[in-house]
């Protein structure tokens, strides 16, 4: 079986300070393909987001944890900590 056939596709958006991990000029949401069994933490590491503990994770509109497994069609939004001002 071709691996590509089994890959899953998710939608990813980054809010707040995490926007700096978006490609320049891109405003999200992005479509990302990844291997089955990929967890949120794998996604964070792929993006290079180091401050995992301070990242709020929305998975299909619900609060999720970094150990949650992603599924095809999932909508992921990552939020950094809120700055005041």
């Amino acid at each position: 079986m071709n691996t590509a056939d089994t890959n899953i596709a998710i939608s990813l958006n980054l809010f707040g300070d995490l926007r700096r991990y978006l490609p320049p000029g891109q405003d999200g949401p992005m479509r990302i393909t990844c291997a089955p069994g990929t967890k949120v933490v794998d996604l964070l590491r792929r993006l290079g987001i180091a401050d995992e503990a301070e990242t709020a994770i929305s998975l299909n509109g619900e609060l999720a944890s970094i150990t949650d497994v992603l599924h095809d069609g999932d909508e992921v939004v990552l939020f950094g900590p809120t700055a005041g001002g």
Binding site: F15, G16, R20, A56, S58, E62, L63, A83, G85
Partner: protein, 604 residues
């Protein structure tokens, strides 16, 4: 001796006698105190007698940029304003951005200390070396936008920068702000009321001389680094300002909601920075020398026929035809979106922008104003307050109309607004009936909009900032030092870059240890101000509200609170049982003379 980052010139203005004098304290003074909090606490300890009324003639008001303020590098447009606080009764300070602080430095002054009280309204005109105390009778009563326009027209130079109070400061609202450049505010702890008590309407400044810098090349390099890495480092600030993450905070159950009770608010996505950008934002503006440009400007017209700019651009319209929001007052940042929005149950973006504009033209702190209204609304909900008390007003959460009405009433001290203008703690003292359980204050200052049950990192700031419920990390090295030297917290400088900027501005060659010592010295000075004002260890505590559980977060326990406080006392050399700086610490930091009037409180 050549000096960099300062002029060795501090302006003292005695409004009671309408006199000015110049202090030249010498280079060691700047190295010892740094600016901001260091200057403020030093001058309070030197000039303000114990027990002085914060709104009386013996309080002083200090405008204190730091040694970095005015450097040609992003984030160097900050200045502090301080005095004894009429809101907390203790050390008062707030910081502001924009252009005014840098303009003051460029006019050849390092700080202004205002003494006494004028008998009739005045304003200061600082035109380089020339300082004039001018009549302000014709400006008294004007909102900030009108007053600035009148001053600039009168002095005939559009490049003048103005720091000023609005009607709220004139009316001694205890959380009145000092605004500069119309959309920047030193708004916490009621510094505007102190200015109002001195009948000082404004300080207009025009400077023409760049502050001498020790190493221009380093600063140019850092400025280039900021602009060339904007996408990587400051993209969110550049595109949205603050408030782009509110949905995340809400999801995590940490969004202030209905007086800090719920942690989640309905409709946060309708009032966050994204909604602002999509619906009502006209522009983003910068502070002095900064390429990040993180300040929102919103513009809303009341009527469709007015909603086209001269350039033909579409301007937002209030769909309900209620409010116009003038772009000259900027726009709401995160603290205001939460304090005037989610924490009051409001999801009406036009009303939140209007509330923010009212606070800006009347000159009031959006955090304390919103939190005081939230407190009153909970009292009303629980039956501690009735329509008979409020003069017929129904103080219901989720009602944007009543908030807009109350803000005007507070600023002008009309009707029930007169009591709310005292701040939530004094309202609670008047009401009794267990209303203290609804307070969200530390040392009398309403907490900013980061719930300490959710954001553990904020607990130390709220508990130990000398100003009270302050979110700027005043107590720690990084936050405290940026406020001392005049550097913006939003710039993503690492510790080495922050040091490089300080050294390039001053030529001091300080290292991390020196930096920490300056932070510790200035924090200890501010602590001494509070010790003398009667604050004790029991004031380094959260009110009952934050000991209660949120749906998604546990309340803070007494043990957690004590651990944070004691660790800090230990690190800073303050007595563990009292929180009073020890005699050894005072000697080590070289502040024996500053501590002279606090001597009776200090033990070996």
């Amino acid at each position: 001796m050549e000096q960099f980052g300062f002029w060795n010139k501090i302006l003292h203005v005695d409004l009671s006698h309408r006199e000015t004098r110049i202090e030249e304290p010498g280079p060691a003074f700047y190295r010892h105190y740094g600016g901001g909090r260091g200057f403020i606490a030093h001058f309070i300890l030197k000039y303000v007698p114990e027990g002085a009324d914060p709104l009386g003639p013996n309080n002083i008001l200090i405008f204190a940029p730091g040694v970095v303020t005015g450097a040609p590098v992003p984030g160097a447009g900050r200045h502090s304003v301080g005095a004894m606080s009429p809101l907390t009764g203790g050390y008062g300070e707030s910081e502001s951005g924009g252009f005014w602080g840098a303009e003051l430095k460029r006019s050849g002054w390092d700080a202004i200390v205002v003494h006494g009280q004028a008998d009739t309204p005045v304003y200061l005109w600082i035109n380089g070396d020339a300082v004039e105390i001018r009549d302000a009778s014709h400006l008294w009563g004007k909102v900030t936008g009108d007053a600035e326009e009148a001053i600039i027209e009168e002095l005939g130079d559009p490049r003048i920068r103005v720091a000023q109070i609005g009607p709220a400061g004139e009316n001694l609202v205890r959380f009145a702000a000092i605004g500069n450049d119309l959309n920047e505010f030193a708004s916490r702890t009621g510094m505007g009321a102190v200015m109002g008590s001195k009948k000082l309407k404004a300080i207009a400044v025009r400077g023409r001389t760049p502050v001498p810098m020790a190493d221009q090349k380093v600063l140019t390099g850092i400025a280039k680094w900021v602009s060339s890495t904007l996408e990587q480092n400051h993209r969110s600030f550049h595109e949205f300002g603050t408030g782009d993450n509110m949905q995340g905070k809400n999801l995590q159950g940490g969004m202030p909601s209905l007086n800090y009770r719920l942690g989640q608010a309905e409709g946060v996505e309708l009032i966050d920075a994204r909604a602002i950008r999509e619906q009502v934002r006209e522009d983003m503006k910068a502070c002095y020398a900064c390429s990040v440009r993180c300040k929102k400007v919103v513009h809303i017209e009341q009527r469709e026929e007015d909603a086209r700019s001269e350039k033909g651009q579409q301007i937002a319209v209030d769909p309900l035809g209620r409010y116009r929001v003038d772009p000259k007052y900027g726009g709401p940042e995160y603290e205001s979106l939460a304090s005037l929005g989610s924490n009051l149950g409001i999801k009406d973006i036009v009303a939140v922008c209007k509330s923010n504009e009212i606070c800006n033209y009347l000159g009031m702190d959006t955090i304390s104003a919103g939190a005081t209204i939230a407190f009153a609304m909970e009292c009303y909900e629980k039956g501690l307050l009735t329509k008979e008390d409020t003069g017929g007003l129904e103080l219901n959460f989720r009602d944007p109309g009543v908030v807009v009405q109350l803000l005007e009433m507070i600023g002008y001290r009309q009707g029930y607004g007169d009591l709310l203008a005292e701040g939530s703690q004094r309202v609670s003292e008047r009401l009794g009936q267990g209303s203290e359980n609804f307070l969200t204050t530390v040392k009398g200052l309403e907490l900013a909009m980061h719930d300490p049950r959710h954001v553990a990192g904020m607990r130390g700031s709220y508990l130990l900032a000398p100003t009270g419920g302050d979110h700027m990390g005043q107590h720690d090295t990084k936050g405290g030092m940026r406020n001392v030297v005049g550097m913006c917290h939003f710039l993503r400088y690492d510790e080495q870059q922050a040091l490089d900027i300080l050294n390039a501005a001053t030529g001091w060659g300080v290292d991390q240890d020196d930096y920490f010592e300056l932070a510790r010295r200035t924090a200890t000075l501010a602590r001494l101000v509070n010790v003398r004002a009667g604050f004790t260890r029991k004031d380094d505590a959260f009110p009952p509200r934050f000991h209660e559980d949120l749906p998604m977060h546990k309340g803070i326990t007494d043990e957690q609170e004590a651990a944070i406080v004691e660790e800090f006392y230990q690190r800073y050399g303050w007595a563990i049982d009292t929180g009073i700086p020890t005699a050894a610490t005072i000697r080590e930091l070289g502040i024996e003379e500053d501590a002279r009037t606090v001597a009776s409180f200090i033990h070996a």
